[in-house]
């Protein structure tokens, strides 16, 4: 049986792991390659690296990081953060990334999804969506969740799928950093409207939150950062908890 995936997310800046509370007040949580190896050993199913640096050397630093991670770890990983061209994607995949995630660039130029899917295959194209509620409507936000767009999140997820996205990474900005649980209702709506997998992100605080997002939210995978980095929840313990709740996991 296909299992539900647990995905630690490592925000990296200038080659170091950081995690912002609501994307602010960055705190250093260590060396990304070392952290990745620890998570792989603990039973993480995949990893996501999100590059939040804005320097000119960013591309080179990120490709080097990808090579170092790919050399060391034997589970799949996705790389995201400011990816906007076919060339960016090509370099990252050739360096050993399994998937790339695109966010703002896809909103700005939706045909980028078609081009990437055609060139590299849907299976390695993750469309990341940052969403926030506005007057009871989920609205897509770009640029790290700071800029609202006019797009309805559910409609945009469907469009991303039809253009060739292989997965959707859905981050609820209303929940991110709050530790009050995932956006289960919106995740469920999007997951049931799509035939591609949905990774839920934002709001994990307890093990029960993960159980909820898999059962109520119908998510295929759940992503979290700080609760793993600061050892508030250990992955083996989380997986045993989920198994105990009859949620299929890899142990």
């Amino acid at each position: 049986m296909l299992t539900k995936r647990i995905i630690p997310c490592l925000d990296v800046k200038d080659g170091r792991t950081v995690k912002g509370i609501n994307f602010e007040n960055l705190r250093d949580a260590g060396d990304p390659v070392e952290l990745a190896a620890i998570y792989a050993k603990q039973g993480a199913d995949e990893l996501v690296f999100l590059d939040i640096s804005a320097t000119l050397e960013k591309r080179k630093t990120l490709a080097a990081l990808v090579r170092n991670v790919a050399r060391e770890i034997n589970i799949p990983f996705t790389v995201g953060g400011g990816i906007s061209t076919l060339e960016d994607v090509s370099v990252l995949l050739q360096s050993g990334a399994d998937k790339v995630s695109i966010n703002s660039a896809a909103v700005k130029t939706p045909s980028l999804i078609d081009e990437l899917a055609k060139q590299f295959g849907s299976q390695c194209i993750v469309v990341a969506i940052d969403t926030r509620m506005h007057n009871n409507e989920p609205i897509v936000h770009t640029h790290g969740g700071t800029r609202p767009t006019s797009l309805n999140t559910i409609e945009w997820a469907k469009e991303a799928q039809s253009r060739g996205a292989g997965e959707i990474l859905l981050t609820s900005m209303d929940h991110d950093g709050t530790k009050s649980g995932f956006a289960c209702s919106l995740t469920a709506t999007i997951s049931s409207s799509l035939h591609i997998p949905v990774i839920a992100s934002g709001g994990a605080g307890t093990m029960q939150h993960f159980a909820d997002v898999f059962t109520i939210g119908n998510a295929d995978a759940a992503l979290a950062a700080s609760i793993f980095h600061f050892k508030e929840i250990a992955i083996p313990e989380l997986k045993r908890f989920l198994q105990h709740h009859n949620i299929p996991v890899r142990l």
Binding site: M1, L2, T3, K4, R5, A40, D45, A70, R71, N74, I75, P76, L93, Q94, S95, G96, A97, D98, F120, G121, S122, Q123, C124, G166, E167, L194, H195, I196, P197, D220, A221, R250
Partner: protein, 196 residues
């Protein structure tokens, strides 16, 4: 040390396969030169991408004929497995025909592609030595090869039961990504190198 060649063609992430072999202390040669492939002790045929495009690329370089005639242990991975079958529904493509199997698209009752960790069972090959029944390995695919007792050496269920690994003579193929399947995957690669 045995000489391991990875067939170079226009398909996906070979770097991960190279790194997986490096972790086992092997330095593989990535090449599309026929003589180099023929001289190898073991051949690995990875692949991520679209069947029609990949077959066209192989045919243009006459690698299709070459692959069929190889006699050393050969391991196809993911799209590699599908290309070794007779026909794929993806782009209605005639494939290499090493296995007389049809490759079909998953029905849409579950999400397609299947992405993630699923189990292997009915293990029937030395490449699964010390791999427990129902071990988890990592899959990413929308198409699958049907089961046929003569060739199936592991099964997996996703919407339906299919061949997650197949074997015929010197040809082995796995639908999952051993290079991304943690310690289990690494053991399968090691077994292929050691026991075939």
């Amino acid at each position: 040390m045995s000489k391991v060649v990875i067939i170079k063609y226009n398909a996906g992430n070979v770097q991960s396969v190279i790194y997986a072999l490096n972790r086992l202390g092997i330095e593989p040669l990535l090449t599309d030169i026929p003589e180099e492939i023929q001289r190898a002790d073991k051949v690995i045929f990875p692949g991520v991408g679209e069947a029609g495009t990949a077959m066209q690329y192989l045919a243009e370089r006459k690698l299709d004929k070459l692959i069929r005639e190889l006699t050393q242990p050969f391991l196809g991975i993911c799209l590699g497995l599908q290309l070794m079958c007779e026909h794929s529904e993806e782009g209605n493509t005639t494939c290499l025909g090493v296995f007389p199997l049809k490759v079909k698209k998953f029905p849409d009752q579950n999400k397609v592609p299947q992405i993630g960790w699923n189990t292997l069972y009915d293990l029937r090959s030395p490449i699964f030595k010390n791999v427990a029944e129902y071990s988890h390995v990592y899959f990413v695919h929308s198409y699958y090869a049907e089961c046929m007792d003569e060739f199936t050496i592991s099964k997996t269920t996703y919407s339906l039961e299919y061949s997650s690994s197949i074997k015929k003579n010197n040809f082995y193929a796995v639908q999952f990504h051993p290079e991304k399947s943690s310690d289990v995957g690494s053991r399968i690669i090691e077994n292929f190198l050691k026991y075939t």
